[in-house]
Homo-oligomer: 139 residues x 2
Amino acid sequence: MSPAPIELTPIGRVESPLTDPGDAPKQGDEGAPDAWLVFEPAVLDGLDGIRPGDDILVLTWLDRAERDVLRVHPRGDVSRPPEGVFNTRSQHRPNPIGLHRVTVVSVDDRRVRVRSLEALDGTPIVDVKPVLSGDPDER
Amino acid sequence: MSPAPIELTPIGRVESPLTDPGDAPKQGDEGAPDAWLVFEPAVLDGLDGIRPGDDILVLTWLDRAERDVLRVHPRGDVSRPPEGVFNTRSQHRPNPIGLHRVTVVSVDDRRVRVRSLEALDGTPIVDVKPVLSGDPDER
């Protein structure tokens, strides 16, 4: 029996100078530009407390990924043997959720500016979480 | 205009002694038990290369969370002022995706045993990713 599907609702979109998948770095710290996270008006209360300097995790929906791929060459490097997609950060996977750790530069009403995001312009945002302190007493 | 919804397909489920939400710790390193990740037969090739000792990120769908909550008291502590859910790790949020960093204990055909997972028994799994090395040359 196949499991029942789950429905996500985008909470916003990425606005970025990155428009060509061929230009996108594989990870944010590999030369990605700053970008805006533009949120839906309905979820703005959820951003309360996010401030410049915060480290956040942005979860996106990689809408240009392939969902029927289970093995890839890591980092697209054909000299490396194929591995299971769950052992790589390939965008291609059954549920292409992107996970991006970024620093907040500024917060402007419904937009949050972040440093070094490798997601393409127009990518849907599905969640934002704070980076957890390693010390439970600081959570 | 509301954005178009996105459909996720569960790739497996958590098997855990944790069945009562009231017993679940807030984070894995706050006393959570070991658990099995049980994968759908159709995605097993995607696990190729995952080995005991690996640190992985498990993304789940927190199916017992509320989706219409935008402000919460952090960690449910009413002595702390409410904050936006995107500035907390509350399970309650528009798209309740759980993010769990765990260590693989063993791999057994379609099951992966992991250390200290706070997700409840039966929670759908939607993605698995390796923890990235901080050094791009090791990725």
